[in-house]
Symmetry: C2
Subunit: 303 residues, 2 copies
């Protein structure tokens, strides 16, 4: 089924204990659509970049069968840039700078050809813009949304309005606690479900992810990684694998949602093995399947 | 198979956001042997208490078919007392006081009748005492040991000697990182295995547990608890369920170790539902089995 992805495209300058990358391809829409492209094609992308956005990056997206008709290119503007430095244990990072550039005035315009998309993934952008996207979609079957501390604290009321229109919210554990003011994650999850989303996924980094629906709780393990080179984009890649699998299978049963969580986890595990999107450049569907099976072996025990 | 448990017996004064308990039954040996008693009997207990240790506590242990021949009672001494206060989110606690009392000079004497025990669980005590216990055991089949920050930092060399005689080390994630000076948990696990234990279990509280052996990595989910009343003893209860299952089945295959981790997790989930050992007072083997199956449902997904 057709999949629309809206979010940021960025040039990231990243430092981890294992190396550096300058102006590397990044942004939520890039990670989401790249991960999803391993499951469904063409992914329809909406975002904005400046005239400095490299042609090679656009070619990369096109080679992944990502439809860039909805990519606005502001030729006299500069692309969104973010820079971060990860600490030794990779769970903490400092933002060195954030230059919104053309992203500051991003006004998502959904091309007519995209408006009947059944699956919609809203990257972490202003909740007002997330609703503006939804206003342009005819009748989505599933809306997946991401958000972050910045919006939870800074645009709380707008976010609450957006949540009522999101089917699946994907956030991390600290965001779930912040959003609900509830330290217990299971209770926090139930509170989030009371805010609108029917389905909540809590990402817990090295501890895996938890899926909570009205009828089920599912705990997905984290892939045991000895070498994490760059955690940037892992959450977006998770979302891309998750919605990519759902768009491919068009099955929203709890059992299939669980599989989608594992595919999201598998894609995220590839993402962090290399810098930027490099971990997602040369995958095959076979490799993705192999990793899916590794997740099964990791968590299965006898009755 | 026969199981020996050595550790502390304590009277705990605990405050959580949900209530208080004064001089409640606690201590590593109590939690371990109580949890194990649901799988194997009689558990042989070695520890020390003062003359103030309540008769009702001894009766409780005996009613659980725990053999207290190895319990030293120093009638003119006082029992080990610990007091802690948990924060709102229950992941943090302050120790209000620690009165070692008779535990300060604990010198574990293993009764002759215990010396052929095949399964040995060493609660979190001085690594020198842990070795002193092992010196008195004829030929154990499996030695499970616990330790903590205090010994990792304060008696590092002694602990390293003890680790060479332990088969299964059970510690939490921060202890694993501290012991190995390695932030990545999987690498930390492999380093620990290089220190002696063939098997490592890393407890991660609300994120479950990870089992690492030479040939397998297994990720156990945490039971989704909405109401945690008192986390005290959860780790010891985990250890008790784990070794209790192994002593019952006498099967050290990776597959059975995984099951043991789930039984440990199940017992710990009962423990935290009530204060002190109250969550372990009135269980049945059927309830334990039910919870085991809940863990399976929580983590299972289709191929």
């Amino acid at each position: 089924m057709s999949l629309l992805v809206v979010g940021s495209l960025a040039l990231d300058t990243i430092e981890t204990p294992f190396g550096k990358a300058k102006d590397a391809l990044g942004g939520s829409a890039v990670y989401i659509s790249t991960a999803a492209s391993y499951f469904t094609a063409p992914v329809k992308l909406v975002g904005v970049v400046g005239g400095d956005f490299p042609q090679s990056a656009i070619k990369f997206l096109e080679d992944r069968s990502i439809d860039v008709e909805g990519l606005q290119i502001i030729s006299d503007g500069k692309t969104f840039r973010w820079s971060g430095k990860y600490h030794y244990d990779l769970n903490m990072r400092d933002t060195l700078f954030t230059h919104l550039n053309v992203f500051e005035k991003f006004d998502p315009k959904i091309p007519v050809a995209y408006r009947r998309c059944k699956y919609v993934c809203l990257g972490n952008i202003d909740p007002i813009l997330q609703r503006k996207v939804l206003d342009q979609i005819e009748k989505p079957k599933l809306v997946v949304g991401d958000t972050m501390n910045f919006w939870i604290e800074g645009k709380h009321d707008e976010l609450m309005k957006t949540l009522r229109r999101i089917d699946v919210l994907i956030i991390n554990d600290s965001e779930a606690r912040l959003l609900t003011q509830e330290p217990n994650l299971i209770r926090a999850a139930k509170k989030v479900i009371g805010m609108g989303p029917k389905i909540l996924i809590i990402k817990k980094g090295e501890h895996g992810a938890v899926l909570v629906t009205e009828n089920t709780i599912f705990s997905a393990p984290a892939y045991p990684m000895e070498n994490i080179y760059d955690p940037t984009g892992a959450g977006d890649t998770f979302a891309g694998g998750f919605i990519g699998w759902l768009a491919k299978t068009d099955d929203l049963s709890d059992e299939n949602l669980k599989k989608a969580v594992i595919y999201g986890s598998a894609m995220a595990s590839f993402c962090v093995e290399k810098f930027s999107v490099d971990g997602l450049r040369e995958l095959t569907y076979l490799k993705v399947q192999d990793r899916y099976r590794s997740f099964r072996d990791l968590s299965r025990f006898e009755d």
